[in-house]
């Protein structure tokens, strides 16, 4: 009983807060309920953002054999507070020839769309802030607005580096949205629903009492998860796919002309985007808030969700500390020549798995499909070690 209370403590707390409004008309309660959900999501993710911004610097420092921030507070943990104050009191510079309104609205639109995307993810049992039937579709629909925000930033700045960065970012995001959505399709097909809650529910239970029913333990699920993760890296403009803001080439891409708090807002949007993509990956492939083993189920569901999220975020940071930036034409070629056909192979493999009644035969068949397509694509894409210098079409 106490276990259940700990698991549902946030839901109980919300109902208690709403009961204080008892007797008010329905629409007041409805609005109060929505506001509470929004406050909870914002509070949780702003805290996580502050934490991850200092942890990222710490982990990168560890990878690069140095200390990282360790002056402000114990172990440098108060660094985000200092950074926040610095960002708030910095001078806000708007270029003279900039399109003032568009320049101002771009960071707001960017962060708003990523926060909306965070709303449909189930964070725990009965803990989906905005539970709608087409949650997955909603996630990608609001996510597609970030492309427009990047364009607004690039255009509004009236700077050629900004514009080049924005065009790179949009080309990259549009290309990788395809594999990102196509790798979600097998999960939607197998579950038969677009609702994140139904997808998490379909991954409950354990095979042989030990192996969880997560989609990542199937061959198609593992492949789709990897493809989804790589596409997610591109969508959130993280290393090794951070050409839009490649410091050595185009200053800071679409964020070149932003300073102070507006820059911090872009920074925040990037992290929120990272959280949203990782959260969706947890929901789709890693069993959402379900525990990995039956005897671990006493741990509250939201703890499992955030534990899995932290692991994915650590991988994000790990990759940033390890891999160099890729070349833009390689990134685009990779999307169309490898990611897209592999995503189609995942759909085929998931269908095979589904029609073999989720059994061992289906497991082996879908593994066969994925492996054959992988090796076929590798042969086709093989350059036979003939590396040529990049040819430029418009800048000769």
């Amino acid at each position: 009983m106490t276990g259940e209370l700990v698991d549902q403590i946030f839901v109980v707390a919300k109902h208690w807060l709403l009961s204080l409004l008892g007797g008010s008309p329905d629409w007041v309660i409805q609005i109060a309920s929505s506001l509470l959900n929004i406050a909870a999501v914002l509070g949780a993710f702003l805290t996580l953002f502050a934490l991850i911004s200092v942890l990222e610097r710490k982990i990168l420092a560890r990878i690069q054999n140095r200390y990282g921030p360790n002056r402000v507070g114990p172990f440098g943990l108060l660094q985000p507070v200092a950074d926040g104050i610095k960002m708030l009191i910095k001078e806000d510079i708007v270029p003279l020839r900039a399109d003032k309104v568009v320049h101002f609205l771009a960071p707001i639109m960017m962060v708003a769309s990523t926060i909306l995307a965070l709303g449909v993810i189930p964070y725990g049992r009965n803990m989906t802030p905005f539970a709608i039937d087409g949650g997955i579709l909603f996630f990608f629909a609001v996510g597609s607005a970030t492309e427009l925000a990047v364009f607004m930033a690039g255009w509004g700045s009236n700077n050629k580096f900004s514009m080049l960065g924005a065009m790179r970012a949009i080309a990259q995001m549009v290309s990788y949205e395809l594999p990102l959505i196509l790798t979600v399709l097998p999960v939607v097909m197998v579950v038969g629903s677009l609702s994140p809650d139904a997808i998490v529910a379909a991954q409950s239970g354990y095979r042989f009492g030990a192996v969880p029913h997560w989609f990542v333990v199937t061959p198609w699920g593992a492949t789709a998860f990897l493809l989804f993760f790589v596409s997610g890296l591109v969508e959130s403009n993280r290393t090794p796919f951070d050409m839009p803001e490649g410091e050595s080439e185009i200053v800071a891409g679409h964020m070149t002309e932003y300073s102070g708090f507006k820059y911090a807002t872009f920074f925040m949007a990037e992290y929120f985007g990272m959280f949203a993509v990782s959260g969706l990956a947890v929901t789709l492939f890693l069993g959402g808030w379900h525990a990995p083993m039956r005897w671990l189920e006493f741990v509250p569901s939201y703890v499992w969700f955030f534990a899995k999220l932290s692991v994915l975020l650590f991988v994000f940071i790990w990759i940033r500390g390890t891999l160099p930036r890729m070349r833009i034409d390689h990134v685009m070629g990779f999307a169309w020549k490898f990611m897209l056909p592999m995503a189609f192979a995942c759909i085929l493999a998931a269908a095979v798995w589904h029609y073999q009644a989720h059994g061992l035969a289906g497991w082996l068949w879908s593994l066969g499909v994925v492996v054959i397509v992988y090796f076929g694509l590798s042969r086709l894409a093989d350059t036979k070690k003939k590396f040529a210098p990049r040819t430029y079409r418009f800048a000769e």
Binding site: W27, Q30, D99, V101, V102, I132, D133, G134, L137, F138, F140, A141, V142, S144, A145, E147, L148, F151, M152, W155, N158, M163, I170, V174, E177, G192, S193, L194, R393
Partner: protein, 160 residues
């Protein structure tokens, strides 16, 4: 509640559409058009057509708007204005609007109560698309693929 929401959404949508039609800078007009697109999606949500609303945001904000801004970006200069007021456009808009109104007012179904239909879920739409409307769907798919290949051929560079 829903009346208030309707008024707010309608005001925003109309304001966006009006700004899109009257602003002199093309990029501003395109961005205001996005506001109108989102407003229409909000209407679909208000009417309970969740799927259509999401697809509206997906297709129009995510794809069509990006297409429009890129078209402007690649064809016009940044400081170019579109010149004076376009009276021909006003005449055309009034003509289209009156034709639509004539058609809507002439439709008899508006005067009778709508029959109770089952909730329009994504699943139901998918089933209908895959059974009753499978041929139109395939034709649209073929058309879009042809358009994609055509677009690629247009931008493909002669390597010879």
């Amino acid at each position: 509640m829903s009346t208030a929401a309707f008024i707010v959404i309608a005001t925003l949508t109309l304001a966006g559409a009006l700004a899109a039609a009257s602003l002199s800078k093309l990029i501003h007009a395109a961005l205001c058009l996005v506001v109108a697109f989102v407003g229409i999606a909000a209407f679909f949500f208000l009417l309970g057509a969740e799927f259509v609303g999401l697809v509206q945001v997906f297709v129009y904000v995510g794809a069509v708007a990006v297409l429009i801004v890129f078209t402007i970006l690649l064809t016009r200069r940044a400081d170019e204005n579109t010149g004076g007021f376009n009276w021909g456009g006003v005449v055309l808009a009034i003509a289209v609007f009156s034709a639509l109104m004539w058609a809507i007012l002439g439709t008899p179904t508006l005067s009778i109560a709508a029959p109770q239909i089952e909730a329009l879920t994504v699943k139901r739409i998918g089933e209908v698309l895959m059974t009753d409307y499978v041929w139109p769907l395939q034709c649209v798919g073929l058309l879009l693929t042809a358009a994609l290949i055509g677009g690629l051929i247009l931008v493909m560079e002669d390597k010879r």
